[in-house]
Symmetry: C2
Subunit: 213 residues, 2 copies
DNA sequence: CTGGATCCTGCCCGATACTG
DNA sequence: CAGTATCGGGCAGGATCCAG
């Protein structure tokens, strides 16, 4: 730890020493959605080598960012309060990076946890507060999410459920959120397919989840 | 770029592909203070190998984060507007990391640019707005900074100048900003030495620059 | 002298096999 | 299922060298 060290004393450097290594912040991203088992983390990060996942978990545990918690026969990993304080960092990174997202390449996948954090990034509570409570069932690739907006609060859960609007989308959903693609055009081009519910609710979705340019 | 790829399509992953590699965000940190020449960047990051610095500059230039700008015979590097949008990310990282800063190790240094960004991180504009305009001349290790607070705006420049309060501090200045160390105790223990001006202005400094727990 | 490019060494990462 | 062990390759680290 002492050799491969940035050698500076300030907050940014310290942060990078703790979570600056490869894969670390993606593990944090998934744990911000909820506690996860080792296998769940591995499934959400298909390209991570298992030794790297194990190493990162150990390092971040030693740093007080996450903890191994035994839960009725199985072990789960969960963020400590200090680890949860990384949420603004992850949201800021997500907001910045999403502006540089082009079209997805063939091998790029969208995982449920990544999609959940993207929605949290794009969520505009002050806009949502003015709108009626709405539940959306969104299927993005293989990810099924139940998105409940109630006033200024957002809840995203995996799986299906009762929803005012159910739709299925490809990665083009990002262009909808970025405002690059208008809701009705998204439906017209087939990038978003409405499965149940009034299709004009997609406009409400787009104004609730929006990343400013 | 295609092999060492995270393989996911979302904002956070994209951000990490652009600025997630070693040293990248420290270069951004320094460029957020102002345009810098190659040698200035190298001086502010003493441990970076020159090939890595050159490589990062090229990569981030290709990504549209910074640009090489010829300025009267010399080349300077400056952030593009998109690169400047990383400021919230860097500030969030700095705020988070500074909470984990222990005592500095022997070899850890404080550079002027790092200190400038630390001050920006800790600056509380709403508090400063209630206080009279104040100029501080702060010497932290080898870094000499002129810190001007005028209402809700902050300006940090290198070098000396007219100031209401001039003080010299070690790395313990971070404990002052974190609230761990009261201003009068910082003076009493010698962690901060007031060179010119009324010493109770250090209290104003500490309430202007403060990181919430 | 500044702004890099080049070389070599070593370690981290990536991939996979293997084990409690 | 939850990791550990092992090995090869590639990026990082450090010194040196080159061009304008």
């Amino acid at each position: 730890m002492a050799v491969r060290d940035y050698g500076q004393y300030d907050g940014i450097t310290q942060a990078l020493e703790l979570v600056g290594e490869r894969w670390a912040l993606l593990i944090i991203r998934d744990l911000l959605v909820g506690p996860r088992r080792y296998g769940e983390l591995a499934a959400g990060l298909p390209r991570i080598p298992s030794n790297i996942l194990a190493a990162r978990l150990k390092e971040m545990q030693a740093a007080g960012i996450l903890r191994r918690a035994p839960r009725s026969r199985v072990v789960i990993y969960e963020l400590t309060p200090y680890g949860r304080e990384l949420e603004p960092v992850v949201l800021a990174l997500g907001a910045w990076g999403s502006k540089a997202l082009g079209d997805p390449r063939e091998e790029q996948i969208i995982t449920p946890d990544a999609m959940t954090m993207s929605l949290r990034t794009a969520f505009r509570p002050h806009v949502a507060a003015e709108l009626p409570a709405t539940a959306y069932a969104a299927r993005v690739g293989p990810a099924e999410l139940l998105v409940r907006v109630d006033g200024p609060t957002l809840d995203v859960a995996r799986g299906d459920g009762p929803a005012d609007l159910a739709f299925s989308a490809g990665p083009g959903i990002h262009r909808l959120i970025s405002g690059e693609l208008a809701p009705d055009r998204a439906i017209a081009t087939g990038e978003v397919e409405v499965l149940r519910g009034p299709r004009d609710l997609l406009g409400r979705f787009a104004s609730t989840f929006h990343l400013a340019a």
